[in-house]
């Protein structure tokens, strides 16, 4: 063990130390220092009243306080997320009398063969009930949901909504219709019935 003096202080490598986010406690970190040709282990102090670079040399330990620093790697907060295993785009073929609807499903992971299924109207969010109609398009996902740290299987049906009808949207739709009408007017000149 060596005494830290002004002369050899420059060879001390100061390493970043993390602390808890609320700044209350210093994390008791072991700081490794290379002093000359020796690696000396020192301990930071948990005493927040001590300010930096107070060196106490009792002959056995180099003991100094690490000033409070902002934690660089705070542990992640718990987040809610949905880990999707499978997703389809579907459209309603038929609304049945037994409060179910039949749908054709296209696998968004594998756009080859189609699937068909029945769904209960109870699986549809109340907000989406107004969208229930033959031809209506929806997305169906199944996967794992993490809510506040609790993981469980989940199935989500979400119907496709139109954009909010504001002035910009109305203009867009009018432009779309105008384009289609113009397009067809040109087309009909070229491809009328024989």
């Amino acid at each position: 063990m060596k005494t830290v003096t002004e002369a050899n202080k420059s060879s001390i490598l100061e390493l970043p130390v993390t602390k808890s986010l609320d700044g209350s406690n210093l994390i008791n970190e072991t700081v490794y220092q290379i002093i000359s040709d020796q690696i000396v282990v020192v301990q930071s102090s948990n005493d927040s009243s001590k300010k930096d670079a107070t060196v106490v040399n009792d002959g056995n330990w180099l003991d100094f306080d690490v000033p409070k620093q902002i934690g660089l790697f705070a542990p992640p907060a718990k987040k809610n997320y949905f880990n999707r295993s499978q997703k389809w785009i579907g459209h309603i073929l038929r609304i049945n009398e037994d409060n179910t609807f039949s749908a054709k499903l296209e696998d968004l992971n594998d756009l080859t063969t189609n699937e068909y299924a029945e769904f209960s109207l109870l699986e549809v969010s109340p907000d989406d009930h107004e969208l229930l109609d033959v031809g209506s398009v929806f997305y169906w996902s199944v996967g794992y949901e993490n809510k506040n740290g609790t993981v469980r299987k989940a199935s989500v049906l979400k119907f496709q909504r139109l954009p909010i009808v504001d002035d910009a949207e109305i203009k867009r739709r009018i432009a779309l219709i105008d384009d289609v009408v113009d397009n067809v007017d040109q087309l009909i000149k070229k491809i009328s019935w024989e």
């Binding site: 295993s85 499978q86 785009i89 459209h91 073929l93 039949s102 054709k104 499903l105 296209e106 696998d107 594998d110 756009l111 080859t112 063969t113 189609n114 699937e115 068909y116 299924a117 029945e118 769904f119 969208l131 109609d133 033959v134 031809g135 209506s136 398009v137 199944v142 996967g143 299987k153 199935s155 119907f159 496709q160 909504r161 139109l162 779309l176 219709i177 384009d179 289609v180 009408v181 397009n183 067809v184 007017d185 087309l187 009909i188 070229k190 491809i191 009328s192 019935w193 024989e194």
Partner: protein, 369 residues
């Protein structure tokens, strides 16, 4: 890669007529017709969902038909998902072909509907895939600046060079066209970017074809049904065919997958010879067609009934990793895959031999009922 692995198809001789039906179990059906002397017509289209290749095109290439010059007519019998997948690929290749679809009262309005629906497509799945296919065909028509052919009641669509063969449309009736026109207006009014276009009665505008093939006759029933109105559907044909059908037919492509509504006793009594051959494709999406009871009815009319694949309702979802399969089962046990089953029923007959019978061969999943 051939249309069916390990099977080599041959081209018919110039004096042999051919009516070949290609079925997929849920991804369309198509009928390929040799009218004689290297003149071909194709009715509707289908594809393999894994490769998205047009199956009638593949078949014709495989037997050595010069698609560019020998395919003379392509008919789109109705605007419905399971009948025209891949048709634009075929039309693009068939440069000498005329393109025919069901007559509509107001062509402009119909095109507006098609174009409106097409605006929803930008690689998205929102659009009706029929619309996408049809729109591509319109683009080809526009580039070629040729008019489309109109299929309506008693309209000659094509006459072969030799005059021995003809293709005539028997539908849709005037009344069906008016009804469809009304449907189009309703669909345009109710157009929504978050909805697929679903036609209420798509089969009523379906195009039934009468084939004159030398000495022989055949009827392709598309998806036409019998309705309660004798001015539409099969009843209109049955009540008004006398001037156009010069002979009874010896082959029928049974309409609407052998459904009850596609059957009428009068079709077999008035339009077909005894024991005429029946060809059909099954329907395996959600419910099965044909049902056992209707198969028995057809078999009472003919011993020669052929189907492109078995009537099976696959009752499981697609194969996926075990975890995902378990997940799907946990939430919905009704998910089932519409599997691809390729089957071909090929019938040939000498054009000029009035006493000849059809010779039918089966390929892939096709079987005799």
């Amino acid at each position: 890669m051939g249309i069916i692995v390990d099977i080599t198809f041959d081209k018919p001789d110039p004096d042999i007529a051919e009516v070949t039906i290609i079925g997929t179990g849920g991804y369309g059906e198509s009928c390929v017709i040799h009218m004689g002397n290297g003149e071909w017509a194709v009715v509707d289209s289908c594809f393999d969902p894994s490769y998205e290749n047009c199956l009638p095109l593949l078949y014709l290439k495989e037997i050595g038909v010069d698609i560019k010059s020998e395919v003379k007519l392509i008919v789109c019998t109705h605007w419905h998902d399971d009948h025209i997948k891949g048709i634009s690929q075929l039309y693009l290749n068939a440069e000498a072909s005329e393109f025919c679809f069901s007559s509509v009262v107001d062509l402009k309005k119909f095109l507006q509907l098609v174009k409106l629906d097409y605006t929803k497509y930008n690689g998205q799945k929102i659009s009706n895939s029929s619309t996408v296919e049809f729109n591509k065909c319109l683009e080809i028509l526009e580039q070629r600046t040729v008019p489309p052919k109109k299929a309506s009641k008693n309209n000659v669509l094509y006459t072969a060079r030799t005059q021995l063969s003809q293709i005539i449309s028997l539908s849709p009736s005037d009344r069906s066209q008016l009804d469809f026109d009304h449907d189009i207006s309703t669909l345009i009014n109710g157009f929504g970017e978050n909805k697929r276009i679903i036609i209420n009665e798509p089969n009523s505008t379906s195009v039934v074809l009468f084939l004159k093939l030398g000495q022989h006759r055949a009827i392709l029933g598309a998806d036409l049904e019998v309705s309660g109105d004798n001015q539409t559907g099969w009843l209109d044909i049955l009540d008004n065919h006398q001037n156009i059908l010069d002979k009874k037919s010896s082959l029928l492509k049974i309409s609407h997958h052998g459904s009850e509504n596609g059957y009428h006793n009068r079709i077999w009594l008035e339009l077909l010879i005894p024991n005429a051959i029946g060809q059909l494709t099954p329907y395996n999406k959600g419910y099965k067609l044909p049902k056992e009871s209707i198969i028995r009815k057809y078999l009472s009319h003919t011993p020669d009934l052929y189907i492109t694949s078995n009537v099976t309702l696959h009752d499981k979802p697609k194969t996926r990793d075990k975890q995902t399969e378990k997940m799907i089962r946990a939430f919905n046990t009704t998910v089932r895959e519409s599997k691809f089953y390729l089957g071909i029923v090929r019938s040939r007959i000498p054009l000029n031999d009035v006493n000849a019978n059809w010779s039918t061969e089966l390929f892939g999943k096709a079987l005799k009922l």
